[in-house]
């Protein structure tokens, strides 16, 4: 089966979905392909979830420009797309005079980059705002425009709006080749058929160099750098920190931070381990990594609730061989647009990257905005956030909102069914979890897991044995062995 498109976006992470959201505003045929059953299954789901203010990247870099502009765009998008963002501000803390000097450099760099509101605070002022930080902290750089977000939720919001506006998303669709004729992209070949297209946007994360290679452009490489995180139960150490607390940065990155998610769980991480290029999918957590993460986090905030850990996970950052984002048209293959090497601050930069790349395509193609473009996305009921009166009304309308499936997070059957049937709906147990928080709590799906699996099976009309955890072949249960003959 051959499909026709103007633009094919490869990769359903934060960059790919943000680009699709932007493309969907124009009269373009846009298709996004994602190899896994769920969006945001790579780097986007496992990072620090911080929307950075923009003082880290050197002045004049693409990163600096995209970061500052992306941060601004999210301030508008939050309401438009109902994004889970908490504008918390952020601290970079210093332990000694040497680090204080680094903070002053960062302040200067941030001001040059156009970051508003940056200030240097003394230790007492930091502790007044964040009472749980170490008494050894000498001072901090305060960035009021930084925030914390739910990255999966952001990617999903971009995708939902795009689909509502006619863009197409093909999941479990693996790119096998890119056909280039006379130096220009002609089609993208996938295991679901061929897509003829004028443009390919390469947002393939840690695999972006391989995709570029398929299209004949070997001009860069992507190296994997793993980072491990530990997440804690939200009932432990409530309000441990309000804003993300970063150490003074080093060459390897921004360091191990202490942060609270938009849902109130404290988390710490990431460490930074450069991996071999054949280990791009190595998301295994390690004992040394967990120990390092905890030890360094404790220097910032001593009373980390170690005993209340509920999960550990690792993400792989896409470090480009150029040291900066690789954005824009390939110099080798016409129609190939790179969005590669999107490591931090990639999450923050995504809407700016999307605008930058889309604008270029729109100019070249002479595309115009859709007259019937719909802002926002379908409302998503969240039982636990409602007043009792609204809860009653919701149950009266659909009694499934009266059946609590996940007891740790109070998630109802109604919400799970909605998550499955929404645009770009959940196909897997983790997909349900990331959309509704069912299974995200302290029992990690011990109670609700079997029930969520049954709901997925029923709603997707698939046998229990075909329900997956997250990845393509992550089947969870098998049929029982039966004895032939059957008579005892």
């Amino acid at each position: 089966m051959t499909k026709q498109a103007d633009v094919v976006v490869i990769g359903g992470g934060i960059t790919g979905t943000a680009v699709l959201h932007e493309l969907a505003k124009y009269n373009l045929r846009a298709i996004l392909v994602e190899q896994e059953p769920e969006l945001a299954a790579g780097t986007t789901k496992a990072n620090s979830a911080v929307l950075h203010a923009g003082f880290d990247a050197p002045e004049g870099s693409i990163k600096a420009r995209m970061n500052v502009e992306g941060n601004k765009l999210y301030h508008d998008l939050k309401d438009e797309l109902d994004l889970q963002i908490r504008w918390s501000g952020s601290f970079v803390v210093a332990m000694d005079d040497e680090q204080m000097a680094v903070l002053r450099d960062l302040l200067k760099r941030g001001q040059d980059n156009g970051v508003p509101g940056l200030e240097i605070w003394d230790g007492d002022a930091v502790r007044k705002s964040e009472p749980n930080v170490s008494k050894d902290i000498k001072g901090a750089l305060w960035a009021p425009t930084a925030g914390i977000c739910w990255p999966f939720g952001l990617a999903l919001a971009f995708a939902e709006n795009a689909v509502v506006n006619g863009a197409e998303i093909l999941r479990e669709c693996t790119v096998t080749d890119i056909i280039v004729e006379q130096g220009a992209v002609k089609s993208v070949e996938t295991d679901q058929g061929s897509i003829e297209t004028k443009y390919v946007i390469n947002a393939a994360g840690i695999h972006a160099d391989e995709i570029s290679h398929l299209a004949g452009d070997n001009s860069f490489a992507i190296h994997p750098r793993k980072g491990e995180y530990i997440l804690f139960d939200k009932t432990a150490q409530k309000n441990l920190v309000y804003s993300p607390i970063f150490p003074t940065p080093t060459k390897m990155g921004k360091g191990i931070l202490v942060c609270a998610t938009t849902h109130g769980n404290v988390f710490v991480g990431p460490n930074a381990q450069d991996m071999n290029d054949d280990e791009k999918d190595n998301t295994a957590v390690t004992i040394s990594g967990m120990d390092e993460t905890l030890e360094k986090a404790r220097r910032l905030v001593p009373n980390i609730p170690v005993g209340a850990a509920i999960t550990e996970f690792a993400g792989v950052r896409a470090v480009s061989s150029t040291g900066d984002f690789i954005l824009g048209p390939s110099k080798i293959t016409k129609g190939l647009i790179q969005a590669a090497g999107i490591q931090s601050p990639g999450l923050t930069s995504a809407p700016a990257i999307a605008k930058y790349l889309t604008d270029a395509i729109v100019r070249e193609m002479g595309a115009v905005k859709k007259s019937d473009y719909k802002k926002g996305r379908p409302a998503q009921p969240c039982f636990r956030m409602l007043t009792n009166a609204d809860q009653r009304a919701l149950i009266a309308k659909d009694s499934r909102y009266g059946r609590v499936i996940c007891r740790c997070e109070t998630v109802t059957e109604g919400e799970i069914v909605d998550a499955i049937h929404r645009p770009v709906g959940a196909r897997t147990v983790d997909g349900v979890k990331r959309r509704t928080r069912a299974g995200m709590g302290r029992c990690q799906g011990g109670f609700c897991g079997p029930r969520v699996i049954q709901i997925l099976s029923r709603e997707l009309h698939i046998p229990i044995t075909k329900v997956r955890k997250e990845m393509k072949k992550s089947y969870m249960f098998y049929d029982k062995e039966t004895q032939s003959g059957g008579k005892a």
């Binding site: 039966t482 004895q483 005892a488």
Partner: protein, 124 residues
């Protein structure tokens, strides 16, 4: 055959005595390590004719739940437990069922019935 020594964990009480059993030509001739007489009789039983209860599930047609838990009426020879469990995997009964109902008569000709562990009503 001669004399042979075997170790056994007594399961009669939380003490969990480690029993040393002396076998002569396959017959128990001496038990040591036990604290009470129950240990000795357990060792004899375990060495001559070990027995186990069997619990499993069978399919139930039209029941409120898809499976019915079942239990053997009495103990079964230990070496036939896996055969009996395999045989039960092929069994289906029809709801309703009451706790104690016989769901399989004389399993594998061993003279023991298999009983429902609980009531199972028809699906509403």
């Amino acid at each position: 055959m001669g004399i042979e020594m075997k170790q056994l964990n007594c399961i009669n009480c939380p003490l969990g005595c480690l029993l040393m059993v002396e076998l002569t030509d396959g017959k128990v001739t001496k038990v040591t390590g036990n604290t009470c007489p129950r240990g000795e009789s357990y060792a004899y039983q375990e060495m001559t004719d070990p027995q186990r209860m069997l619990t499993s599930t069978i399919h139930i047609e039209g029941g409120a739940l898809p499976l019915l838990p079942v239990v053997s009426q009495k103990t079964l020879p230990k070496d036939r437990i896996l055969d009996c469990a395999a045989a039960l995997r092929g069994i289906t009964v029809t709801a309703p069922v009451k706790a104690g109902d016989v769901v399989v008569t004389n399993i594998l000709g061993l003279g023991i019935d298999i009983l429902a562990s609980r009531d199972m009503d028809k699906r509403q």
